[in-house]
Structure formats: structure tokens, C-alpha cells
């Protein structure tokens, strides 16, 4: 499940949505990305972002034994310490949940069409993010 939204998200509520009444999930990993120190505005390519998130999620499901995945990305203007992005992976075993969550973040950072602006200045892409994505090839 993935969505792009301006509203904040609640990690516990999203875990509950995903675990529900299932009893075969042994490991849940969440990654929350937060705004550091500045005010950010996030712009995205509506339609393509959702498509890319769905593709990234499918890729993770093909590579790891996962029971559920949630990806939520916020857009709009965000203040310091605000949530930006949430990835949740649920699996029987922790190795799958951890690796898939890292993979999802690395791919999202290099493929999902979103751009951050700090005041009038567009944030530059980091080569360290390209390197991080490269290791899953």
C-alpha cells in the first residue's frame, strides 16, 4: 500500500493497519525520514510518484519474503522535525524486514519523482544516494 499526502502520518496506526488480525508476522521494521533543521517544500510528479512507489514495492516483494509493505510520502511545506516519509515492512523474519526497508528507501530516494526545496534553493541530489541504490543491482 502506498500514498502521497500533505497530512502527517502516525507510525503506530500504520503498523496496526498492516498487522491487523494476522498472527504470522514476526518482524516489523519502520523507517521515518524527518526534516532536519530547515523548512522544506516538497514538489512531486503526481501520478508518476504513485506508479514508481508501486513498482518499488513490487520489486521488494519479488526480492524478499514480505507479508506487507506500506510507503507514505508527504508533499507540501514541512517544518523542522516534521515527518517526510514512512516505509514499513512486515515479514516472518527480521532479516527480510530490515533488508527490504533499506532497499525501499534507497530506491525511493533515487527513483520516486519528488524534489525538495529549501527556501528558494532546490536541494541537490547526493551521489551517496546513487551509491546506496547501486548496491542492490
Amino acid at each position: 500500500m502506498n500514498r502521497v499526502q500533505t497530512e502527517d502520518f502516525d507510525v503506530s496506526a500504520e503498523i496496526k493497519n498492516l498487522v491487523k488480525q494476522r498472527s504470522d508476522i514476526g518482524a516489523v521494521v519502520t523507517f521515518s525520514g524527518l526534516v532536519r533543521d530547515v523548512t522544506l517544500t516538497l514538489e512531486h510528479y503526481a501520478g508518476m510518484t504513485e506508479r514508481e512507489l508501486t513498482k518499488i514495492e513490487a520489486e521488494a516483494n519479488a526480492r524478499w519474503d514480505l507479508q506487507a509493505v506500506t510507503i507514505i510520502h508527504r508533499v507540501g511545506t514541512l517544518a523542522p522535525a516534521d515527518n517526510i516519509v514512512l516505509v514499513i515492512t512486515a515479514a516472518a523474519h527480521r532479516k527480510d524486514a530490515f533488508e527490504a526497508a533499506e532497499f525501499l528507501m534507497d530506491y525511493l530516494k533515487t527513483r520516486a519523482p519528488l524534489w525538495k526545496r529549501e527556501g528558494d534553493t532546490w536541494v541537490e541530489a547526493k551521489s551517496s544516494d546513487d551509491d546506496a541504490a547501486e548496491r542492490w543491482k
Binding site: M48, R51, L114
Partner: protein, 83 residues
């Protein structure tokens, strides 16, 4: 076809999207960039450094040498910085 611009490219070109009809000899993404560049200095500025221009054809990432085909929409943007 519809052409969309995002982030710094949108700001430089001064519009979010437009409808264009490139000539038949424009066959790939790089060709479309070259043709757009002839439309004014704002395009030339936006596309000055092709290394930091990314493209999508019908909402799928596309390389500069990707064939255009007959797309519904083509988008241009800088490297993504979400997450």
C-alpha cells in the same frame, strides 16, 4: 504531445506544462530537448547541462537516447531528491 517541467526546470522555463508539436525528425528524448532549446533562452538555460536533466515518457523513467514513440506526455526534471 504534452510536456511537463518540474522543480528547477519548471522555474527556469516558467511553466508547469505545455502542448507542443515537434517536427517528425525529433525521434528521441535528446532530440526533443534540442528542439525545445530552440524555442527561447529560458529553455536553453533549463537544458544547459544535460547531465542533470532527467526525463520520463508517459510517467516512466527514460534515458536521453530513448525513442519518443507517440507519447501522451513527456516530463523533464532534475535528479530526484525525495525521501
Amino acid at each position: 504531445m504534452k510536456v511537463l517541467y518540474f522543480a528547477s526546470l519548471r522555474q527556469k522555463i516558467g511553466k508547469q506544462e505545455e502542448n507542443v508539436t515537434p517536427p517528425d525528425n525529433v525521434r528521441d528524448v535528446a532530440g526533443l530537448i534540442d528542439w525545445l532549446t530552440t524555442r527561447g533562452p529560458e529553455y536553453a538555460a533549463a537544458f544547459e547541462n544535460k547531465k542533470v536533466v532527467r526525463a520520463a515518457i508517459d510517467q516512466e523513467h527514460a534515458k536521453l537516447d530513448a525513442a519518443l514513440g507517440r507519447p501522451h506526455e513527456v516530463a523533464f526534471f532534475p535528479p530526484v531528491t525525495g525521501g
